[in-house]
Symmetry: C2
Subunit: 245 residues, 2 copies
DNA sequence: GGGGAGAGATGCCGC
DNA sequence: GCGGCATTTCTCCCC
């Protein structure tokens, strides 16, 4: 591929805010929050309209290297090869890509103002428990959302039927040791703030790891098997599908 | 763009394990671990040789939607549009992309056997402290790696000059509340395993948040300002650069 | 802008 | 495969 033509197309695309996709063979060197070298291989470079740079290998879901939004990119010829230099001065991050071959270069002015609508998060799970407190236990009475925030980042917070305070920590997937220590931290915070000797801690998650369960029971806390709400599962039998949104 | 030609190119690329890049306008619907809808917009779809699918919007560093390695992908015509259906039956995940326009389609047989060489990780920081125990304090004696692993995932572990056990937790960036609770968990584990009343806990990080510092001192632990080793900074004044590797 | 915490987290290593 | 944990985590929310 003609390097002059590549540089020309690249600069044109960059200045007009197009999204650029480059298939190349080369080496990637990064220096910033850490340091890395990735020896020659075939990769995909993507420069977005916000000047984010992603380097993707032909497998795996994460980029092997990247530069954050607002970075500067310069493509230039260096002896026999192309070099793509990216820098982000405010973040003190630098990347150099030594390009040995260009397989393809494509640029298009992509426009997208949409945001992802997501259901089934931990927040949805907490809302579900506020609306169905019986999923924690009979007689559980959640406090309002206002009061909830007053005590910090506690997912669900309320009283059991004996007027004991209950702190509920939700996890949308299997709860681990850090979920237990997080719950413990919240319970201790409430005890201290309220001057109470007894505050119950409940961990609500679809499942829990054995070690986490051991630590949970050691600390006198409880586990409730609860899964996050799933819009599709709740509505699919009733004719409606996600696609209708 | 001719849809028949697109489908033909796509199927050919997919069956031969090429990496595919598709610039398109359309809607993305996902159902699996959660549920999501993303209304019409211009995006990039990437299918890697391991059949990972990434959907990227024209800004931001993370994919807005994705399907994991090993998913199946089928592109077909549906009335006036194209539909890319992806499914991963073992993971019970599904995605449908309703394509209103194809801006470009490119496929190339990318080959890459290299792994990223990364320096400046938390593990590197722990090794640095093992080799320079004075960074923790004078008289600190780390135990060997074998003994270290015996007690679990503790970063650095040793004795101070008064033969007190010291547990060191490293963070490569600012330490937060969860770093303190993690340290606390390790200290308690060692106390229990060894039957000791006193075990020191040290948090080594470049900095620490105010609340984390408060909790740390509440628990009688200590903070040491230590930054992860940075290969480039250590060698740049001595002529050598990362690029030489 | 910083702190705190979730994420459809992903990826790595160890058992 | 699961468990435990780091990540150049990234992203969002809220102060």
């Amino acid at each position: 591929m003609d390097y002059e033509a590549v540089i020309s197309s690249f600069n044109d695309a960059l200045s007009s805010g197009k999204t650029i996709v480059l298939g190349f063979k080369g080496k990637v060197v990064y220096s910033g929050r850490a340091e890395s070298v990735l020896q020659d291989g075939d990769r995909l470079a993507i420069i977005k309209s916000d000047r984010t740079l992603l380097i993707h290998q032909p497998s795996g879901s994460n980029p092997v290297n990247y530069m954050k939004e607002g970075s500067e990119h310069h493509l230039k010829k260096d002896e026999h090869n192309l070099v793509l230099s990216s820098r982000n001065l405010p973040l003190k991050e630098f990347m150099d890509i030594y390009i040995k071959a260009v397989y393809f270069l494509h640029a298009a002015p992509l426009l997208d103002s949409q945001k992802l609508q997501l259901a089934g998060t931990e927040r949805d799970m907490a809302l579900m428990l506020m609306q169905n407190p019986g999923l924690i236990e009979q007689g559980f009475t959640p406090l309002s959302n206002e009061e909830h925030t007053k005590y910090g980042f506690i997912d669900v917070f309320g009283y059991d039927r004996s007027q004991n305070l209950v702190v509920v920590e939700c996890k949308r997937q299997q709860a681990d040791l850090s979920a237990v220590t997080q719950l413990r931290r919240y319970v201790e915070k409430i005890k201290k703030m309220k001057g109470l000797a007894r505050v119950r801690g409940v961990l609500a998650a679809p499942k829990i790891s054995p070690n986490a369960l051991a630590m949970l029971t050691d600390w006198g806390f409880e586990f409730r098997a609860v899964s996050p709400p799933n819009y599709f599962e709740r509505h699919s039998q009733g004719q409606k599908s996600l696609e209708d949104f």
